[in-house]
Amino acid sequence: MLKFTEEHEWLKIEGDVATVGITEHAAGQLGDLVFVELPEAGASFAKGDSAATVESVKAASDVYCPLDGEIIEVNQAIVDDPSLVNSDPQGAAWFFKLKLADPSAANALLDEAAYKELVA
């Protein structure tokens, strides 16, 4: 199941684990990224907490945790090469995997059509 937030995160949900990244639209708006900071595996976040930071030459932006949960894995590849977020934001450049506290809460997020309408 693919879901989106109004803050431009995407979630690919398989069982009670969501793989989270930022959308192609967001990556395009941010421009070339030069730095990514990811959370520690094992950290717990509430929905809306700042879970990661991305920085372009010009500015820093927070990436929010889209649902309550615990980080179980992070993608070191985007820390080593932040430009991956610009080249493949909705594929290889995922940010973290989140074990959802309540998988049913995902139903309230946007589906792909609703997100596309938001950024159109």
């Binding site: 803050e7 431009h8 995160e9 930022i22 967001a26 708006q29 941010l30 421009g31 070339d32 030069v34 730095f35 900071e37 930071t53 991305v54 920085e55 372009s56 030459v57 010009k58 500015a59 820093a60 932006s61 927070d62 990436v63 929010y64």
Partner: protein
């Protein structure tokens, strides 16, 4: 994600346009509000490529939002305008030769900096370029200070375009061959595309380059001629900021303001010997007492380069500490970001004089962590001015 890049919540209807506004839109620029103007922050290539292209070839910048002011002596004698302006700036204007430009500062009675500016001797008048956000206040300040002896006029019929980078001379040569004879800080009048322009060999990137004052009616024509050259790319405010930061140049409002003095800001070089204690025309500018005392005794704090050790940018506003636990506050970052040519983070800021020596290890607070950084000589990249 926080939508830091979307200005659409702001009312942009009040923003002014430069004469090149439509050209920016046609080039696909992303526009942002800056100093009351709707300005290009980047073009489709993006900040990173624009920055690197300027250092490798040449970039064109619209800086028409800046103020262009003429100070003309009522007596007809340029010396009278020079001496009058010296009452507002701690700079040697009398010794500024015709066709030469100099960096200057308006100071206040407390020794703080009201604005920084470029001053040119144009033979029968002085030509000033001031910051966009300060230009109305500067104009009033000049009229109050010099109105008795000089006519002060803000030019609203000229655009200002910067051409910067190692290929700038070759590009401009195709429009005006004599440009090769100009040295850093020379100013000349020239016909470009049958339009009389004022060209200075200066800029805000640390690179060789030019700033070209163009009559509004021809601004688009001349700029398009520059952009047609295969070595030239349009450059937005984003790369303008990263270029000047790597070059160690101050941004008014960030690195210098009414609460910072020239000595604190490490701008002693902008105050020539004739205006310092013991000079022919020592003092006689606002805040002279404090500024000259700081020349003699040093200032309590100092603007320095700060090189973060890791990859994380340290932005303006970050607090700086002497220790990794954040117990001993010693200063603040005033400008910081990622330097594409340095290929790493760069910053500058103010620290206590005792911590200002090159090589001093300090720590900046970023998102609750204390990141190590080192006090480093500015600039971060070698300046390539043609002296």
């Amino acid at each position: 994600m926080r939508q830091t890049w979307r200005p659409d919540l702001e009312d942009i209807s009040h923003l002014k346009h430069t004469p090149l506004h439509a050209l920016h839109l046609s080039l696909g620029a992303r526009m942002v509000p800056f100093a009351g103007y709707d300005m290009p922050v980047q073009y489709p290539e993006g900040v990173l490529k624009e920055h690197l292209h300027t250092r490798a070839a040449a970039g064109v910048f619209d800086v028409s939002h800046m103020g262009q002011i003429i100070v003309r002596p009522k007596s007809g004698r340029i010396e009278d305008a020079a001496l009058a302006l010296e009452k507002l700036v701690p700079v040697d204007i009398l010794g500024l030769a015709e066709g030469r430009q100099r960096y200057g500062l308006f100071t206040n009675d407390e020794g703080g900096i009201l604005d920084d500016l470029m001053i040119t001797n144009r033979g029968d008048h002085l030509f000033l370029v001031v910051n966009a956000a300060c230009k109305d206040a500067d104009f009033e300040h000049l009229k109050r200070g010099l109105g008795d002896t000089c006519d002060v006029k803000m030019l609203d019929d000229r655009a200002l375009v910067a051409l910067q980078g190692p290929r700038a001379e070759a590009v401009l040569c195709e429009l005006w061959a004599d440009v090769a004879s100009m040295r850093f800080m020379d100013v000349a009048e020239a016909d470009l595309h049958d339009v009389t322009c004022i060209i200075s060999r200066s800029g805000y990137t640390g690179e060789d380059g030019f700033e070209i004052s163009i009559p509004v009616t021809s601004a688009v024509d001349v700029t398009q001629r520059l952009l047609e050259h295969p070595d030239v790319m349009p450059i937005g405010l984003g790369a303008r900021d990263s270029l000047r930061l790597e070059a160690g140049l101050c941004l008014y409002g960030n690195d210098i303001d009414a609460d910072t003095t020239p000595v604190e800001a490490a701008l002693e070089w902008a105050i020539q010997k004739s205006r310092r204690s013991g000079g022919d025309r020592a003092g006689g500018f606002p805040g002279a007492e404090r500024i000259l005392a700081e020349f003699a005794n040093g200032a309590k704090r100092r603007r320095v380069g700060l090189k973060p050790e890791g990859r994380a940018p340290v932005r303006g506003g970050a607090k700086v500490y002497a220790d990794a636990e954040g117990n001993v506050a010693v200063g603040t970052v005033t400008s910081g970001g990622f330097g594409p040519s340095v290929d790493g983070p760069v910053a500058m800021g103010y620290v206590d004089a005792a911590q200002a020596g090159n090589g001093t290890k300090l720590y900046a607070e970023v998102r609750g962590k204390y990141l190590p950084l080192t006090v480093t000589a500015l600039p971060f990249v070698k300046q390539t001015y043609k002296r």
